[in-house]
Symmetry: C2
Subunit: 191 residues, 2 copies
DNA sequence: GCTTACATGTAATTGGTTACATGATTTC
DNA sequence: GAAATCATGTAACCAATTACATGTAAGC
């Protein structure tokens, strides 16, 4: 059982879905927690079904093949809930952006500024999409901690917070770069 | 040329290092931008040396084998600077923690609270380590945007901001869970 | 004398991406 | 009639982790 397996179980726990539906969600860049391609998802779903954690009901699909709608079995639900509150492995972040930022001193201040400005733009587009997605969640007063929506909302909130923090960081860095470009030697502002 | 290659070039750009030194930094969980194991690093360094992007000077090491100290060549420096300010690929975040949070409704509110509290503790330990690392950077007034330290400091700041945002999120979620546990139905606080 | 740190490498396996393949139905 | 969407699958390749292997020097 790898992490992808649990990502799939977690997706099917909210409602039964076809492999196609799951793969559409998992390639979307927003509201993400885990990403995967369909070429990874379909074989994995077959393995989970073989292991008895999920069950497929074949429905007549619009595609060339029959469509399989998967649902969690009781075994799968148990496996998911046991996994869910065990402590997660320490995350090993890999950020190509930060890697590039570290080497930005090799280019001109103008190009560095353009780089960060472009990143800021990307983050703000994502912020807008996230704010739109807010409507997916039920009215506040209907949510409580034993409701699936509650924790889905919490993960959405996490994404929002991080995106806002990223934008603030971009603005800070842009102002620092601007100060230096103007040839006014100033000390770095602590926040 | 994969991303790891540029991570290695970026590390060697600040100062020449042995494979061992680079691998020590890249397995550390703090101040990270990219992580890798030594088993991935050593072969990659050999490939970069063969391609002429870095150069090794063999020094007598303390280990059973000779130690190789790698430094960027002018070709390697150019390759790094060209790569550095080209737009990075959109990040595909994978968070086992968020994946687990989404399925926390399957457990009791008490266990969910314990889970988040443990995460908060992890983040605050990381915050403490980050704050200690602040001293690695030169005095503020010595840094400007053409100095390697300046952008290294910026990546450190990014890590700090994200960690603080994570702690704030944990506190918010804990307070939400607490409200619901006390059986006082309240609406979710927007922030 | 035992453990830890230094120091580099290979092999086997798992995880993940990109490309190939197929074909019906719906929309323009 | 052309293009996009639905829908599932395999194959080849690249990236990353875990385990195997070796051996010296320093500190306890």
């Amino acid at each position: 059982m790898n992490t992808l397996s649990y990502a799939l179980l977690g997706a099917l726990a909210s409602r039964p879905q076809t492999g196609w539906e799951v793969s559409q969600h998992m390639k979307a860049p927003i509201a993400y927690m885990w990403a995967a391609q369909h070429s990874q998802i379909y074989p994995e779903l077959n393995r989970l079904a073989e292991a008895g954690l999920i069950e497929a009901t074949v429905i007549r699909g619009r595609g060339p093949r029959d469509t399989k709608r998967y649902a969690l079995t009781s075994v799968g639900l148990l496996a998911l809930s046991v996994w869910a509150d065990s402590p997660p492995a320490v995350e090993v972040p890999k950020s190509e952006m930060l890697l590039k930022v570290r080497s930005l001193w090799l280019t001109s201040p103008e190009r560095a500024t353009a780089f960060i400005a472009a990143q800021r733009e990307q983050f703000s587009v994502r912020l807008a999409t996230l704010i739109e997605e807010r409507q997916q969640f039920a009215r506040d007063d209907l949510m409580s901690s034993d409701h699936p929506e509650f924790f889905a909302f919490a993960t959405w909130q996490y994404g929002l917070d991080r995106t806002r923090a990223a934008i603030t960081w971009c603005d800070w860095l842009l102002s620092q770069l601007n100060d230096h470009q103007l040839d006014r030697p100033t000390s770095i502002t602590r926040r």
